[in-house]
Amino acid sequence: MSAVRLGHRVRGYRPGRLAYLTLLAVLFFSGFPLYFSLIVASQDNSALGRIPPPLLPGSNLLANIRRVFDTVPFEAALLNSAIVASTITLSVVLFATLAGFAFAKLAFRGRTVLLLLVVATMMVPTQLGVVPLYLMMTELGWTDTLPAVIVPGLVNAFGVFFMTQYLREALPTELLDAGRIDGAATHRLFWHVVLPAARPAAAVLGMLTFLTAWNDYFWPLIVLSSPENYTVQVALSNLRSGYITDYSLVLTGTVLATVPLLVVFVVLGKQIIGGIMQGAVKG
């Protein structure tokens, strides 16, 4: 029986046709809403009332895109989101790598307790602190500015946890010792040994962080009030909240906001998946 000789990790039975059909069905349901939003985005509104509904893209996409840019300052929104998301990404990756290095490879008093604290904070629903956060931003004079959106996102516990895990395995202690013997100070080790070794994990963490920051909605909605300061998600919701929803308009905005992420996902999806799964296993 071949089942007995299967390598580990692999189940003792082969997937049947039903397994493939189920997965294909799931893929269809995963992809269809995104595909359909592209269809709606490429039609004019009158086509949406047609029976049966259109299932192929129309020719109105460019016109709709123009309408999006005329209705809300969407180019500002894209730029704002790019600024917010890249600043947050750089900061999260840098501080997570620093802290991850310390937790993974340096000995210091209180290390275990502090690491436990990091893990505990991963579960804290910080969203519930919006009221005082808003008061703080008022106090600082930052309401309706990008720093108000950026600063609360500069670090996150997941990043620290993720980098600690990665560096613990991927960074050879011998390499650090060799650097020490050559008399390198810790900060030089960080720049010349740790950062290069952390690059694959930093890339994954960077992408996950960028995605989350780009997609963030609740806090930007609260703290940003003028359209030229909106991030993409707030601008989108603004498109939606007209008296009568113009779906081809809103979904064109949605497509514009989502396509850059989809491109990144298609190019780097394997690494992203690897990162998510890596974060999950070490139980």
Binding site: A3, L6, R9, R11, G12, Y13, P15, L23, L27, L34, F36, S37, G49, P53, L98, A99, L106, R111, L116, V119, T121, M123, V124, T126, L128, G129, V130, V131, P132, M136, G153, V155, F158, F161, Q165, R168, G183, A185, A213, N215, D216, Y217, F218, Q233, S241, T245, Y247, L251, T254, T258, G269, K270, I273, I276, M277, Q278, G279, A280, V281, K282
Partner: protein, 337 residues
């Protein structure tokens, strides 16, 4: 302010301890002068703290402090419209529990949480089980499954609002073809909850499936081999081997999904469309969630910060209770199978 659930249960990472090197190599001590040596020691002692400080400082200032300060604000009559904010004790809380709309929001939230989480995690478990087999096109299926997670909650809410539209929605068109007739999804309590739960399920099922898959791959293969030899069916293997073995991961996903589900905001807000409905969760508040309720009072109507803070603090209590209850519930998996 990210709300996406992070990955991974913890555990073993805390047991590892790096080898302490508090003595420099002998030759180093000889070669350098005493000043260098002191600097070296200072570097070794201080650097670790220096490196973890930015995280703790920023997290304390913009994560923990606001959360804690919420309790303080909640005991004041605090609004943006007035410079005075007198202490009122528990008045905000008394007002909150006396408001039927609060209980309505709590009920809606729990209903949406159950509808959006239970089927989602079961589905994720089944999918992960399929993906853990010897499939052709593994990474293709994995990527396809994660695709919805790339879209923002706003995008998801907008796309599904269109699909669930009363007059021109694709779903109603399909229902009509099958002779079921159109449903005004926004109007009904149950129907709107189902629509919102579908959005949550669509976005998060694949993500959780990947997390389960990762945990399943760590289960020793020989367990399945001997089960197969004993004639255990695939379903039986899932129930008796896989689920008990990945229990920590299940606990983790259940808790994270609960925390997420109790704070659902964008889906109901955008599903309602425009104007007042988007804050009240429909004309008769049929799908107003707790976070929407908080938003309505704190940032939409009169900026009643004290009252909104009381809401947030109660939500925090509910989240802690729900997480603990889930933990106890899922812990029983092993004893019941």
């Amino acid at each position: 302010m990210t709300t996406a659930p992070p990955t991974g249960p913890v555990g073993s990472i805390l047991e590892h301890s790096p080898r302490p090197v508090d003595q420099p190599p002998g030759e180093l001590r000889d070669r350098r002068g005493p000043g260098r040596w002191r600097l070296w020691r200072l570097d070794r002692a201080v650097s670790p703290y220096l490196y973890v400080t930015p995280f703790f400082l920023l997290f304390a200032a913009f994560g923990l402090f606001p959360l804690g300060y919420t309790a303080w604000v909640s005991m004041h009559d605090w609004s943006l419209l007035s410079d005075q904010h007198p202490f009122v004790g528990l008045a905000n809380y008394r007002e909150l529990v006396a408001d039927p709309y609060f209980w309505n929001a709590l009920k809606n939230t729990i209903s949406i949480l159950l509808l959006g989480t239970v089927p989602q995690l079961l589905l994720a478990l089944l999918l992960a089980n399929l993906l853990s087999r010897r499939l052709r096109g593994q990474s293709f299926f994995r990527m396809g499954m994660l695709l919805p997670n790339v879209a923002s909650v706003v995008a998801v809410a907008v796309i599904f609002s269109q699909l669930f539209g009363r007059d021109f929605g694709l779903i109603n068109w399909l229902l009509e073809q099958f002779g079921v007739g159109r449903i005004n999804w926004q109007a009904g309590t149950a129907s709107s909850h189902i629509a919102i739960a579908v959005m949550i399920t669509w976005k998060w099922t694949g993500y959780n499936a990947l997390i389960y898959l990762a945990a399943m791959q760590a289960v020793p293969g020989d367990l399945y081999e001997s089960a197969t030899l004993d004639g255990a069916s695939p379903l039986r293997q899932l129930r008796s081997i896989t689920i008990p073995m990945i229990r920590p991961t299940i606990i983790f996903t259940v808790i994270v999904s609960t925390i997420y589900g109790l704070q659902v905001f964008a889906e109901p807000q955008l599903f309602a469309g425009s104007g007042q409905d988007s804050v009240t969760g429909g004309a008769s508040r049929q799908f107003q969630t707790l976070t929407l309720y908080l938003y309505e009072h704190g940032f939409h109507r009169g900026f009643q910060f004290g009252y909104a803070a009381a809401t947030a603090w109660v939500m925090f209590g509910i989240i802690v209770l729900a997480a603990a209850a889930n933990y106890l519930l899922v812990r029983r998996i092993r004893s019941t199978t």
